[in-house]
Symmetry: C2
């Protein structure tokens, strides 16, 4: 795999569709053909590794997207908030990993999900957190809620979070506390295994570095699992993942499941890492031209940072994409133009190479008032979060509107 | 006015309130005592200038906040989206300026607000936009909608946007097109005046520079108004504003109204500019400690960029505030600590001066698992947008929950 030019598109993608119908912009467009291809690619990839895929739903926060992942063979989901757990539980998802370290006051909420029939796994990386979970769980035993959980098949499990890259949370694989925590959880029957998130993969450059990083993620998480087992503790679940490592790993030996999220939509950060190409980006923001500053070569659009998000994740990559890559309304990149700056509801589109050679004609005739453009996002999680729904598009035609939720 | 230290707080503010009740974090807290003081300060300031205050509601997007502004004497509101216009119209606000250049396909939506009784003003900065508004308005004449507007007192007006600082949209005060556009609008009876937004004030440093910039904003916008009048065109409205210029202007001669938005909440960017002090920041994010990396001096909290926003508006100011200033749960800054980094649902709190002198005790005992902190936002507009409600707090006690909306 080589890093593609962020602006290169096969000529076949330039084929024109009829104009989109009127839409009050900005709008989050979701190309479901691209989405489906992305979902198939990851499902096949993780199946080829011989393990289960547990998609992270924090990117889309959208039930129809998760149902498509489930239909392709995904097993369970990963969430970043208990709000996501609530929403997906209500939609029928009953196997959920809450992959952010749980704090004591959230344990009752977690148990309420078990009472509604969920197998909910939470994560801890300290004895204090393990104690809090065990104590709340013990206090809950014998309650009407616990009886409801038993009747509905709901159950709480705990994974110990492992730090494989020094980037965020988790215990080092050789930390003495790993066993203490394991014993504490196992005494309550709550120890299900270990998990990690190799977020450091976002800083890797090139396929060799990504593959080596994936091996680091795998081997360190498996090492933690083996320490637990060597101490006589169970470790049924060994859960790893990030989109870059899931797509780059040479082996998943010792792993039971892989988690990934952004692959459903992809974005310019992932394209910059080389794990997708720009034509794999399923999410874009449809925007309208609201004005020009011809002397400066500026085209003003109604997608500012409120629509695009403030995420500037490509700033430190080889190609800085500003606030996003500019495409025509059908998604074909307009070579040489980018969103250079963003106010709350204004985006400023300019040529990347500066405005020197521009004429008034260039900006006002090429991008007339009211004409529409699509912006590819730096970071799909952040851009999607600014919208309450996706307008689906397939083969250039508008289709369903899929709701998404936010908040906590 | 001198630029205060962003971390300095009067000792009297450190007085302890009883602990807040349990809340599932992250939560947007709105201190209504601070809010009210901010609202009074701006209302008094603009009244002292002898002009009307038309608050921008894009920061709070919250009806109870706007009602408080109205009760203090504000005249009309400013919005950044037609969604805001819809929401506030439904809540009884009938004098609205939509302060983002209108694109042709949004004119019918704008007219629908007139049909509901609004005096709605839109803005244009090109003949193409003026033509689009005039044509849609003429086509609407004689329609049942226009009759409803007449019956309810609704009316469309247009302001010409003036560029006073080269930062975004608008015509230069001496642009020939100003008169052409004015004549086009006046022929339809739609010309109400001129407006500008001195967003360049955000880049000023020090009171003298702010005051000079406010004079630039005022004088250039008034110059555009005088050109229209000299050409025999009406210019009833001369609307200027931004929070920094509103607070710094020495005179509002020739101006009829001042717009400002962020002053309701203030934020670290405004504190960095010196137009408020940290204790004037009414919005904060309540967060809980979810873990530690004691070896690195890290405290992990459940407010990541999804709660704090990706806005790093203080990055280029004299004091970079990271992803926000750390306070105790009552809002008193914890000197020396900041949110250094943010993932989607994880914030990483560290000492600004690095972790060298830290012991495990420092991080795990000073900030125990489950303890709560408040984070002051870089940019209140961006942080508030991540939440669907504000939990109000007054004198350290939780009060009402105020809904806010987002989207388009």
């Amino acid at each position: 795999m080589t890093t593609p030019s962020p602006l290169a598109l096969p000529a076949s993608n330039a084929s024109p569709w009829p104009p989109l119908p009127p839409l009050e912009t900005p709008v989050a467009l979701l190309d479901t053909d691209t989405l489906d291809a992305n979902l198939r690619r990851m499902q096949q990839r993780v199946q080829a590794l011989g393990v289960a895929l547990r998609p992270h739903v924090k990117t889309a926060k959208c039930v129809p997207v998760a149902r498509r992942q489930q239909a392709l063979g995904a097993q369970g989901i990963t969430v970043s908030t208990l709000r996501e757990a609530d929403e997906f539980q209500a939609a029928g998802f009953a196997d959920i990993l809450y992959a952010v370290g749980i704090t004591p006051h959230k344990v009752p909420h977690a148990l309420s999900l078990c009472e509604r029939g969920c197998t909910l796994r939470v994560i801890v990386d300290s004895l204090a957190a393990a104690d809090a979970v065990v104590q709340a769980w013990q206090a809950w035993q014998g309650s009407p809620g616990a009886a409801r959980a038993a009747a509905t098949g709901g159950r709480l499990g705990v994974l110990i979070e492992v730090d494989v890259d020094g980037e965020r949370a988790g215990l080092l694989p050789d930390a003495p506390a790993l066993l203490t925590i394991g014993q504490r959880l196992q005494a309550a029957g709550l120890l299900d295994g270990v998990m990690t998130h190799g977020g450091g993969s976002y800083g890797m450059r090139g396929e060799a570095a990504l593959q080596a990083f994936a091996e680091q993620e795998r081997s360190r998480c498996v090492a933690a699992a083996e320490r637990l087992r060597a101490a006589g503790l169970p470790c049924a679940v060994v859960s790893v993942g990030s989109t870059p490592t899931a797509l780059s790993a040479a082996t998943a030996a010792g792993v039971t499941e892989v988690r990934a999220g952004i692959y459903a939509f992809f974005d310019l950060v992932m394209a910059g890492l080389g794990v997708c190409r720009p034509e794999h980006i399923a999410l874009s923001v449809l925007t309208s031209v609201i004005g020009h500053q011809p002397d400066k070569g500026w085209v003003l659009v109604d997608a500012g940072w409120m629509a695009l998000s403030r995420d500037r994740g490509t700033q430190n990559q080889a190609v800085d994409q500003g606030y996003g890559v500019v495409c025509d309304e059908h998604g074909t990149p307009v070579d040489g133009w980018w969103v250079q700056a963003a106010n709350q509801e204004h985006g400023i589109i300019t040529r990347r190479d500066g405005a020197a050679a521009l004429t008034t004609h260039d900006v006002t005739q090429r991008f007339p008032l009211g004409s529409r453009l699509r912006i590819l996002p730096n970071h799909a999680c952040a851009t999607a979060a600014q919208f309450s729904a996706y307008r689906c598009i397939s083969q250039g035609q508008l289709g369903e509107t899929w709701p998404r939720f936010g908040g906590w």
